[in-house]
Amino acid sequence: MTSDDQPLLEVEDLTTTFSTDDGTLTAVDGIDFDVETGETVCIVGESGSGKTVATESITKIIKTPPGHIEGTVRYKGRDLLSLPESELRQIRGNEIAHIFQNPQEAMNHCYTVGWQITEALQIHRDVSDEEARAKAVDLMDRVGIANASSRFDDYPHEFSGGQKQRVMIAMALVGDPDLLIADEPTTALDVTVQAQILRLLDDLQDEFDMGVLFVTHDLGVVAEIADRIVVMYAGKVMERGDVLDIFDRPAHPYTQQLLECLPEFGGTGGGIPGTLPDPHDPPDGCRFAPRCEYAEEACRTGEQPEEVEVAPDQQVSCVHYGPGGNPSIVRSEGHGPGDGATGGDSEVGPADD
């Protein structure tokens, strides 16, 4: 637990750009969010919204250059972005661990899973091979791999997709991290396995008392695991807050549309019409304006609207909630089911890639 009510992770004005041949691409554009110990925060958005880049900017695992990261990322009060690379390495895999989308690609096919699980331990701690092995076998067992001690010496190709992701989770947990960043960890898996992995992550979070930052485009998954959510669109945060509040009373037109796509809310499971703006040349004003049914003149000029607190712990970036705006324009039509339908057992995402 962190002291003084300080959040485990505080992200402030995080901006990540990439220099490309076509000019500068802004993937993440000044976003804010927090993660507390023991809670799960989901970053939600269509693919291309910048959610992966945002999480990979936290410990700077994106390549810089071409990437360029600005802003503040405070982990237990330390600003990670100003730390030298050598100190960041001490934090990666040790205090902050990552799980990626595709376990098949995320493992090196030339090494045994045991070698790959213990690697982080061997780097960060002064442990003997036996200790490392014992710890890895224990973790493999914990994440649900049968006959862990004999499977320690097997190669990744000898595991199924779901088992590989379990191994990746063991790999992430080996350093006893306080923050786990999981980037679409179930997207590449089939539906039954997805549910198992989500349950496992949920159990492990309690057991290890970690903060979890979970990236997904799948609101069905969000409903199952999130405590709070951050809705991202085109590199900006549209809305963030408590998951129950937002599922109950989504304030932002984008969140409303995402939820409307869910079958539980009468949607077809399809996506929102239209496409994301060009990240090289984002539109003025609200990023969502070209696809927003409530867009007005004010939405198309200046910057993304300032975040406004519409309820305790629920921030929205939309002109209709801002000074002089009229929230009822967005809310009058009774958006959101209002029945607390957070059971969400759907596996169908609103905006599949």
Binding site: H98, A106, N108, C110, H124
Partner: protein, 324 residues
């Protein structure tokens, strides 16, 4: 475990291949006119004797009157029991001639092989890590140069510069110096350098391209997220998978150069190794010796390919032995 069986099968197969090659050699030899027989016939005719009788006598002496299969088994037994006959031109057993030549060939082949195996992948991966920088261009340029320039020609140029003009090295290889002496190292520098530039190009190119793929792989991101340093990430996560495709290129390149260019280099630098031995045997029409060196190179190639197969299988854990 399937590995032992796999290796056994590969070794047996290599044995079959070498037997096939030896058989073909035998058939070619028996189909060709035997110079000794012809010589005897000519001799007899010149001295007024009966050429047919002389021919018969020589054929008998050489066992050529035996049926083909008997001669075949004799020949095969000879090859595999290392009874490779007598070299007329060198007045010593063929095996002895090959052995003493190998002694000199090994002196430059071993350092050359080791340098290629170590430097090729290192420079290739370094090139990939600095892709499209001047370092990469310099390394690639060097690789293409070595690849493109004929080894014997490059050897002659260097010999001219360092041997004749600058006189850093003796123009003719000196066999009197000790193997592990500075003089020997100096006189072997240029041949080794020439061969390394010849073999390293392909090795560098393959390691650069393969490792370029791996350095952008997702598992490199995993490694970084685990706190792995860039150096360690390259050493373990890039180098190791690169070795799999590289092993094939490496053995192939070394073999091709050993069987081809090193002979020319020996002639250029006057190193009394296997290349020069073969060359001289050809000039002297010493059939047994030509056969001996040919067999030796054949076996090197067969063993090299065998090693390549086994190394590849050991390096890539995804290969199942049962499928091959």
């Amino acid at each position: 475990m399937g590995f032992g069986r796999y290796v056994t099968a590969r070794v047996l197969w290599a044995g079959v291949v070498s037997l096939v090659i030896t058989t073909i050699t035998f058939l070619l030899l028996s189909a060709a006119p035997n110079p000794d027989v012809q010589q005897a016939a000519t001799q007899a005719a010149l001295q007024g004797g009966n050429p047919a009788e002389a021919t018969e006598r020589v054929r008998e002496l050489r066992g050529l009157d035996q049926p083909l299969y008997v001669r075949y088994f004799d020949f095969i037994r000879g090859v595999y029991t290392l009874d490779w006959g007598w070299s007329e031109s060198r007045s010593q057993p063929v095996l002895e001639a090959v052995g003493s030549a190998l002694y000199y060939t090994a002196q430059y082949s071993i350092p050359w092989t080791i340098l290629t195996i170590i430097l090729g992948p290192l420079v290739g991966v370094y090139s990939a890590a600095n892709m499209y920088s001047w370092k990469d261009h310099a390394a690639t340029g060097f690789a293409f140069f070595g690849y493109a320039i004929p080894n014997f020609f490059f050897g002659i140029i260097l010999l001219l510069v360092f041997g004749v003009w600058l006189q850093f090295i003796p123009v003719t290889y000196n066999t009197d110096v000790a193997v592990f002496s500075v003089e020997n190292a100096v006189q072997l520098t240029i041949p080794v350098f020439v061969l390394v530039t010849g073999s390293i190009g392909a090795v560098m190119r393959v390691s650069r391209n393969e490792s370029a793929e791996f350095q952008n792989a997702d598992f490199m991101k995993t490694a970084k997220a685990k706190g792995v340093s860039p150096l360690r990430a390259y050493a373990y996560h890039v180098m190791r998978p690169t070795l799999v495709p590289l092993s094939t290129t490496l053995v192939g390149q070394l073999l091709a150069l050993f069987l081809g260019s090193s002979l020319l280099v020996e002639v250029v630098f006057a190193i009394p190794g296997l290349g020069r031995l073969t060359y001289k045997a050809l000039i002297a029409q010493d059939t047994n010796l030509v056969l001996g060196t040919t067999l030796f190179f054949t076996f090197v190639a067969v063993v090299g390919n065998l090693l390549e197969d086994i190394v590849f299988t050991v390096l890539d854990p995804r290969i199942s032995y049962d499928d091959r």
